[in-house]
């Protein structure tokens, strides 16, 4: 764990002075470098995209409620499934993870704005000529201009490129923060599991995102500049795209799930009043999962025709992931063993996570067996599996985390009654929706079909699935209502509102002040705060005297850098189009719009590099005065 507030008692730089311009309102949000505010931005942006993805899911389920339904046409359906997958994976759950992970590190402003502009660009496709329709995997040749002639897939490649850059910057930020900004005494093996999960996830991002970046560049070149990387007629190879996509795509699954593991590893000990069982084996299991995650990508390609040797190797490597995952499940169960389990809303989600995620895990092992996967692949069995892992695992984990840290983030406790209603409607709806889909797949229903013939025994199960999706929607509405009424209550949450908090964030006010820790605490072991409480202390022992705290200055440059990339991307996408207006054609076809965007981006970078900003200080008198 680290904290932004660095005390620089000696060697204070020639500061810009104590009095700095403090922005308010919208400008405050656009220029903020406070990681907590950035986390809130991530949360709202993620919530917004999650809402869009959820609505898309409901539309998909309405279309599939009965055979030969005509609620949606085939093209719209394909656009919806593509955008549902892409939005949920890249834009919906990732930022919420980032929002929670931002509880720890320092500024991540560039990452956020780049991510947001990428996500907005992708979703602009709905109103600018058609959304991408080639599935979130965008397999070539279906995603080539020959078979997907609208700009939909361009929005996908360029939007994801920009959003991916934001994610990469975010990941590097977390790594740097965790490596350099841990409090005195906070050795690696004393870090909370959630910090470990953040650390390892960021490392996976660092290695996995460059792969998709390269893939997206190649696909963009194919589509916009007429290159032939994936075009079989001119010697390109579509299977290459599948390799590039999944070398990124499988680690991406662990980028999603490891933070959830981290959250569960915080919530369960707190509400069992017991330390995490087998902490070191948890750390090594997480590392092992991250490592093996890069060794298994071809299990998404068992039916591509890689041959028996590759299929056998990737079957076995995939099955091996079950071992570290199993270690984690049993460690959580034995954390509760002998403890005093309280069923608060966060813990309900955490406890619901264990069996649900285990079910997703075991179907994962079943899928790992290549000859069986020849049948499972691209059917509703797979759809059921990955929703068990992503929704039953990650989303339940996120809900646990959101309810758990909400008082810390906003100073207000979410309603426990409404929280429990959210839990029960959501989890019952979830199992109704996805459990039956295992059987649909085994009975011969392939995925990504916009409708199906009657008399295939698919009808009842699809109806059940749609009803379940509706119930999940109800759960989400209750959650939104909960947020709304909570926001109207006074912000009176205690520093340690759950009373059994074990880690450092529960030692500071809710919500935390801008500088987080008045004095950097001294960490004396795992679960530092719990250790102090057991020793009879009510607060942490500080590792330094109260001194002036160095703060970074607010700046609009990161926002401008990201806006520039957005403009450049949009300009590049339409560089080969003919426009009604001559002026527009001139601006776009001569790459003037693209150039303008790049000038804004690189200009902002130049300004950032040329002008030193030493930040400002919060003086001790001010700290004591509060």
């Amino acid at each position: 764990m680290a904290q932004t507030a660095q005390s620089l008692n000696s060697a204070r730089p020639p500061a810009t002075g104590h009095r700095v311009k403090r922005h308010t309102g919208l400008m405050d949000w656009i220029t903020t470098v406070d990681h907590k505010k950035i986390a809130v931005l991530y949360l709202w942006a993620g919530g917004f995209f999650f809402g869009i993805g959820g609505l898309e899911a409901i539309l998909i389920r309405i279309q599939l409620i009965k055979p030969m339904n005509t609620f949606l046409d085939a093209q719209t359906f394909n656009e919806l499934i593509t955008m549902h997958g892409t939005t949920m994976i890249f834009l919906g759950v990732m930022p919420v993870i980032f929002a929670l992970m931002n509880a720890f590190p320092s500024s991540a402003d560039r990452g956020f704005w780049t991510f947001l502009f990428g996500g907005l660009l992708l979703n602009l496709s709905w109103v600018m000529g058609g959304a991408p329709d080639a599935g979130w995997t965008a397999y070539t040749p279906l995603s080539s201009t020959t078979y997907s002639a609208t700009h939909g897939v361009d929005f996908y490649t360029i939007g994801l490129q920009i959003a991916g850059l934001g994610t990469l910057i975010g990941g590097i930020n977390f790594l740097a923060t965790i490596i350099t900004m841990r409090a005195p005494g906070m050795s690696y093996m004393r870090m909370p599991m959630f910090a470990w999960a953040t650390f390892i996830t960021s490392a996976i991002i660092l290695f996995a995102f460059p792969a998709i970046t390269v893939g997206l560049v190649l696909l963009t070149f194919d589509r916009i500049l007429g290159a032939n990387f994936f075009n079989p007629e001119t010697g390109g190879n579509p299977v290459l795209w599948q390799h590039i996509f999944w070398i990124f795509g499988h680690p991406e699954v662990y980028i999603l799930i490891l933070p959830a593991f981290g959250i569960i590893s915080e919530v369960i000990p707190t509400f069992s009043r017991k330390r995490l069982f087998g902490y070191s084996s948890m750390v090594f299991a997480t590392l092992l999962i991250a490592f093996l995650g890069f060794m298994v990508w071809a299990h998404h390609m068992f039916t591509t025709g890689l041959g028996p040797v590759a299929n056998a190797l990737f079957s076995v490597s995939t099955m091996l992931i079950a071992v570290p995952t199993g270690i984690k499940i049993f460690n959580w169960l034995f954390t509760m063993w002998g403890g005093q389990v309280r069923f608060t809303t966060p813990n309900l989600f955490a406890v619901g996570f264990i069996p649900t995620f285990t079910m997703g895990g075991v179907t994962g092992v079943m899928l790992a067996s290549a000859p069986a996967d020849f049948q499972f692949h691209d059917t509703y069995f797979v759809v059921a599996h990955f929703h068990y892992v992503i929704v039953g695992g990650l989303v339940l984990g996120l809900f646990a985390g959101l309810h758990y840290w909400w008082p810390k983030m906003f100073g207000r406790m979410l309603s426990e009654t409404l929280g429990k209603w959210t839990f029960w409607t959501f989890i019952i709806g979830f199992h109704l929706t996805f459990f039956v889909q295992h059987f649909l797949g085994l009975m011969g229903m392939q995925r990504r079909v916009f409708t199906y013939l009657p008399n295939q025994q698919f009808d009842t199960l699809n109806l059940v699935s749609t009803v379940g999706a509706g119930l999940m929607g109800v759960g989400m509405l209750i959650f939104l209502w909960n947020i709304f009424i909570t926001s109207r209550k006074p912000a009176d949450a205690a520093d340690d509102p759950w009373e059994d908090g074990r880690t450092l964030e529960w030692t500071i006010p809710s919500p935390p002040p801008e500088y987080n820790f008045k004095q950097t605490p001294l960490v004396r072991g795992i679960d530092a705060f719990w250790k102090e409480k057991r020793a009879g202390h009510t607060s942490m022992t500080p590792s330094e005297p109260v001194g002036s705290i160095h703060m970074p200055s607010a700046t609009i440059l990161p926002f401008l850098m990201s806006a520039g990339i957005f403009i450049a991307g949009l300009g590049f996408m339409f560089s080969r189009d003919t426009f009604g207006s001559d002026l527009l054609s001139f601006l776009f076809n001569n790459y003037i719009v693209t150039g303008l965007g790049l000038v804004i981006t690189f200009g902002s970078m130049l300004l950032r590099s040329l002008f030193d900003d030493h930040g400002w200080h919060i003086e001790p008198e001010e700290l004591e005065g509060r």
Binding site: F277, G278, M319, W337, P355, V362
Partner: protein, 347 residues
Amino acid sequence: MITWQGGKRLLPMTAALGLILAGCGREDLSVLRPQGPAAESSFDLMKLSITIMIAVLLIVFSIAAYVLVKFRRKPGRREIPVQVEGNFKLEVVWTVIPLILVVILAVPTVKAVFAAGNDHADDPDAVKVKVTGHQYWWEFEYTDYGVKTAQDLVIPAGKDIAFELRTADVLHSFWVPSLSGKIDTNPDGTVNRFSFSAPNEGVYRGKCAELCGPSHGFMEFKVKSVSEAEFEQWLASMKAPAVLPEDPQLAETFRSACLRCHAVGDQGLAVGPDLTGFGSRESVAGILLNDDTGADGAPILENIQTWLRDPESVKPGNTMPDPKADLGLTDAEIDGIAEYLAGYTLE
């Protein structure tokens, strides 16, 4: 060798599981009711893995249930539970047991992977079929017999069929759930081969399993497993001279409008699906099922009329021109062609 003992003990359980699962789905479509050795091999692995996984789930669920009931915090409880750091023996147990389970599943998996790798491409007894995926229909070419057909794959029961699969456009995936797992059709350069057989005579449903465009869900086909004699008979009648509409004027319309893309026997261009013996097909356009009883579709004549009146509404995004709007055919001509095609049956 304890692991193998354990494996054997699982056998009766897998057998029981097989019986339960066999109740699921149509015999001609369900993965759970395998009708051939390839599907059987996948199903055996599924039963083994489901058995192991149910055992794992039972253990996890029981521990979870026990913990949640037994270790609830009772009101007013103030004492602090013992802070257990871990337990070396327990942690070794739940590392080693999953490893053993993985080995139990991995050994038959690897065996089955290599068995499935036998594509019978050089087997003189196997029937060779070239499969080509098109948006949104399937082409089957019997290279040894010089016969080409579409949508209905006719095979002799019990014989190994050696497939060579490719696509003419985007990726598709060739899947007959009750007979075998699926395999993708890739462009030239990454052509796939595989093999299956259907010991029992019957009609099996096939599907495209890789997203290939708007009508991906409608890219269905049928596999007809027939006796050796019937298969020979079918080949012979496919090779017989083409039958054209009796009315010479209709024949001319058919030739100029339809045979520009389709073929019957030795006439026409086989760009679109071959129409030889269309009256004997199981479906029109793969998705309008032919069933005179009306239970599972409509009579073939009705289906052909539905298709020809508005192909786009039946199969969105397909490349067939609209006979009336694009080719200028009259309603009478469309009905005439429909009647001719419905009556063009094979011996």
